[in-house]
Amino acid sequence: MMSTIPLAAYLILTAIMFFAGVYGFLSRRNMLTILMSLELMLNAADINFVVFNKYLYPGQLDGAFFALFAIGVSAAETAIAIAIIINIYRNIKNIYVDEVSKMKY
């Protein structure tokens, strides 16, 4: 049974999602919102992997497994990044990237 949704529709959708994440990453000042834009980019890439798995290699599972492991790695990275940001907030009381620019010495 064929799917009625063309491959290009999925790819345009993930391109929009990815570049919304790029815009958010480059334009935001709060570290947490930068991380959230990074999550958007990672999710767009995951959808791309699954879409290519379904449309180009339907008998195999490689794309789905890559997306699965990417979700796991992204969860680990988000946890560590939030721990670092909370530590920064404890020391400097500020998490705007403009104002966290002085080095220690």
């Binding site: 570049f19 334009s27 947490l32 999550e39 958007l40 008998g59 599972l61 789905a64 497994f65 969860a75």
Partner: protein, 166 residues
């Protein structure tokens, strides 16, 4: 037909809420819009027939990572105050980079759209996913599974060490 309607609803949700999430000045609203995007992404996985990924996306991303973001937002800022207003001139390089990148990707996609392939509706059963995850054969993923468990252990220890009370 129903598949197309569901796809377009999910696509509109993803596009609208991802753009709102990166342009909203209130942090908690941006987090909520991101939650909607992640749920719609899980819906896309289910639409394509990958039920296991649907469950993983909801439980890990929407149910784990977004909760982490929300409580870290509440810990590090007063939820009521907005981000500072940035003049649009400073947002111009970011907007230009995003639009240029999207134009490049769009060009590549439309250059190749005539090679459209039809999808065969395959739904990976849990048995296939399980044997692929736990096998040591050619297309099987036991080694990455063990590696990611070590990564998560390192992440747990690292997170506790970084964020502990001094």
């Amino acid at each position: 037909m129903a598949e197309q309607i569901i796809f377009y609803v999910l696509a509109i949700v993803i596009v609208v809420f991802s753009i709102l999430s990166v342009t909203s000045r209130r942090i908690l609203r941006a987090a909520t819009y991101l939650l909607f995007v992640l749920l719609a992404t899980a819906g896309l996985y289910l639409l394509m027939g990958y039920q296991f990924l649907f469950g993983v996306q909801i439980s890990v991303y929407a149910g784990g990572i977004m909760v982490l973001y929300i409580f870290s937002i509440l810990l590090t800022s007063h939820a009521g105050d907005n981000a500072k207003k940035v003049s649009w001139k400073k947002l111009l390089p970011a907007g230009f980079a995003a639009v240029a990148g999207f134009a490049l990707c769009g060009h590549i996609i439309f250059h190749n759209v005539y090679k459209v392939v039809e999808a065969v509706a395959t739904e990976p059963t849990m048995k296939e996913i399980g044997t692929a995850m736990m096998g040591t054969g050619k297309n099987q993923y036991l080694l990455p599974f063990e590696a990611i468990s070590i990564l998560l252990l390192a992440c747990i220890i690292g997170g506790i060490m970084i964020a502990r009370k001094r």
